[in-house]
Symmetry: C2
Subunit: 467 residues, 2 copies
């Protein structure tokens, strides 16, 4: 191996491509980066191609197909976020710099460092054993940061090439510094906007105030009606399909190294608040929510304007956990809002995007394999973590390929992904290379035909997806 | 009398001055108009001067002082609102046009037509009797449409010249078409803005939602806490000082020709709503309110942005009725909001402007004189009307001159004051000239030393005013 093929120089080379997918002027950078990546994958013995999509190309690579082996699909992306605000970067975002044992560059953690660790892990395995214990497919796209608009069609078109037993993704964060973490669930989402309409125009609040329901007051009353004082969502039927947390989940949550003090420091609030009976990590990952993302009505400027506004609005997103169906939740919310709408105003409801919750059982055979690999490499039992956000592509993978995704994290909590001075600790990079080797070995131990998904989350089987 | 001194040609001449006080380029127009007005007042036998202020000049005129007579001060203004949107005017705003028996021009109702009717009423009285039954003072300012910033100092400086027994103002609307109306109360006002603060920055509503109190939700809960479901304000102590409505007031309200259908048509709401136990006109004029003039927080654009906002705000104004003190009400509101503030957020409260409620007893000797004058001229008992809005200068008059203001209306409900195609029915103008003559005769019948104010509204005696 020549020095320029050492892990760190390769990562620095990868990071020099300014692959900002949302900026059209970087299309050639994306194309060159995909080509470079495909050549690298070929150089370690994989069959690799750069395949076109309606948008940026996909790098698709695989080891020789051995039908006697299980198949692991490793997903990642070579595109990155924009660099604004550029003036806050200590060193240029596309001139990767090593300091404090971290690599500073846009994309260092998200996702170039993490996907390259997996690629180099496979290289190590092949170098030491001449083969891989499982078939490996790399699917590395160039549009993750803009919402993967071409991926759905790509998966359907290449369904046969992508057939696999399990999917592995490292595009997520450890719960605390260098603490092994297996994320196994993401919340779903359902969005709606509500417009509360009253008078035909803004009225003088002196001349008419008192005789007319104020739409801003009505909007506030509707928003206030969504929660009980103890933090529970007050929509009738909202929790009907929600599974209670399993004992092992409560134990995993209780063992989480994320402290309330961490959350206070991260958010800047004076005290945490949430649904009674659950810890903060459970509230974030394992319980559904109703959040106001925006509210507005009437005068927004400085000082006073004595209007009684003609209308007001609020935007809601519900975060969903397994067995909650987005359209059903929006139905329940709409019924709640219509039942609670004060006299004298009317409401118009517009539904927004939605996505199913995702759950990949970490106690499945593959889940336990991933846990073993994490423990081998980090020397600690991994935290099992339910994330609060949503990754829609996971349900697409499940729907099209029928395979579950396991998410062993390589990002540090202070990696500054999407922010200035994004960085990736060298230790995480090196550990990621080892983790990949351990993962392939452990996945190989799972009997063929065993899928991770235990089938206890009915709505994940549904093929329905909403825009 | 020459034809150009007939009432209608005089009004058309008055209306041709583009006296927009908020636009600096019209300063000369305002000066010329004040001069023309003063000359007119001199021509009918009054002593008249154009007096400087820090802003636009004031026209101050008076009949010869006869200490045996009572003195009536008639207030009005010669400045007008801007004309935007100019494209909606059917004829140019400063080229007065007669059609449908109405005079169309900016200022035709507000206030040139109404104050000129009073001037020409005095001319008629002098022409027929050689004198006036009461001393008359005209105080006609040029800054009413910009909030009368110079009037307070002017009143204090000219306090002796302005000494009077009663003040008469026609700058308000009839309750319905050509229905005699005596307005006798205006609500006070107290404003505050509340900022609800939570996280230090907007958070990802997936990553943190559920564990952090959402400031938009907290703002909504605070706003919702301000009212009971039946429309009553829920702030403890809010109504403590409010007088029950007198029987004659409830009778006057019940006899009001303003129907709920009128209010529905004017506001465009589907149904009226307000405090249980009161009619719509009582809710507007005689009961205090808490109104949200603006609310905002989080994402305001199109579509969805999954933020948990760092803060939210709402702007409140309270409309006050006699015996409510603005600062005391703001104290009660602040205590209420602090007591209801949800855990996990903090609130910052900034107090805005405030003004005392105004009440001028229509059953006083002068009030009954005004009622008799209205009934004589219109042939109908006048509606006694409490207005929902606020006119701060009334409390200034009361404070500086110690005199009450009676407000016999000359504007029609569809006069379009402040709007395109402002108009003044010729019938209202001619009736106004007659009304002035009747008012002077009736005010003269009130024994000297009798003031309109019966002293049952303690906080109107207080000299305190807040900015």
């Amino acid at each position: 191996m020549t020095p320029e093929n050492d892990p760190l120089p390769l990562l620095l080379k990868f990071l020099r491509f300014p692959t900002i997918s949302t900026q059209a002027e970087h299309a050639e950078d994306l194309r060159q980066c995909a080509g470079w990546l495909s050549t690298l994958l070929q150089s370690i013995g994989l069959h690799s191609e750069v395949l076109p999509t309606a948008g940026q190309p996909v790098v698709l690579a695989h080891t020789p197909r051995d039908t006697a082996k299980r198949t692991v699909l490793i997903y990642g992306h070579y595109d990155v976020q924009p660099v604004d605000p550029i003036e806050l970067w200590e060193t240029p975002p596309f001139e990767p710099t090593l300091r404090n044992d971290r690599i500073y560059a846009r994309g260092s953690t998200d996702n170039k460092g993490q996907i390259l660790a997996h690629i180099l892990g496979v290289r190590e395995t092949i170098a030491h054993t001449g083969t891989t214990p499982v078939n490996v497919i790399f699917l590395i796209e160039g549009e993750e940061e803009i919402g993967s608009p071409s991926l759905d069609a790509f998966l359907r078109e290449h369904r046969d090439d992508l057939a696999c037993d399990v999917i592995c993704i490292s595009d997520n964060g450890m719960v605390s510094d260098f603490h092994p973490t297996l994320s196994y669930a993401m919340r779903g989402i359902a969005a709606m906007e509500v417009r509360v309409k009253g008078p035909s125009v803004d009225l003088h609040s002196g001349v008419y105030g008192g005789a007319v329901m104020n739409p801003a007051t009505a909007a506030a009353r509707l928003v206030a009606s969504l929660h009980h004082d103890d933090g529970r969502v007050a929509i009738s039927g909202f929790y009907d399909t929600v599974r209670p947390l399993a004992d092992w989940e409560r134990a995993a949550s209780a063992a989480s190294p994320i402290s309330d003090a961490d959350l206070l420091a991260q958010t800047g609030v004076t005290e945490l608040f949430g649904e009674a009976g659950y810890s903060a990590t459970e509230r974030i990952g394992a319980r559904p929510t109703a959040e106001v993302n925006g509210i507005g009505g009437g005068y927004q400027g400085e000082g006073t304007k004595t209007v009684l506004p003609a209308s007001a609005f609020f935007k809601l997103t519900f975060r969903l956990v397994p067995r909650m169906e987005p359209e059903k939740i929006l139905d329940l919310a709409e019924a709640h809002l219509r039942a609670h709408c004060p006299a004298g105003v009317t409401i118009e409801i517009e539904r927004g995007h939605s996505g199913l919750p995702y759950f990949s059982d970490p106690m499945s055979a593959d889940g336990q394999a991933a846990q073993r690999a994490l423990e081998r490499v980090f020397g600690l039992k991994p935290s099992l973590y339910r994330e609060g956000g949503s990754i829609p592509i996971l349900t697409t993978f499940k729907e099209v390929l029928g395979a579950d995704a396991l998410l062993p994290a390589l990002a540090s909590p202070d990696c500054a992904a999407h922010s200035p001075n994004e960085n990736f600790p060298v230790r995480n990079f090196e550990t990621g290379i080892m983790l990949n080797q351990a993962l392939l070995e452990e996945f190989a131990k799972v009997p063929r035909g065993v899928h991770g998904y235990r089938g206890d989350v009915p709505n994940l089987d549904r093929a329905s997806r909403t825009a």
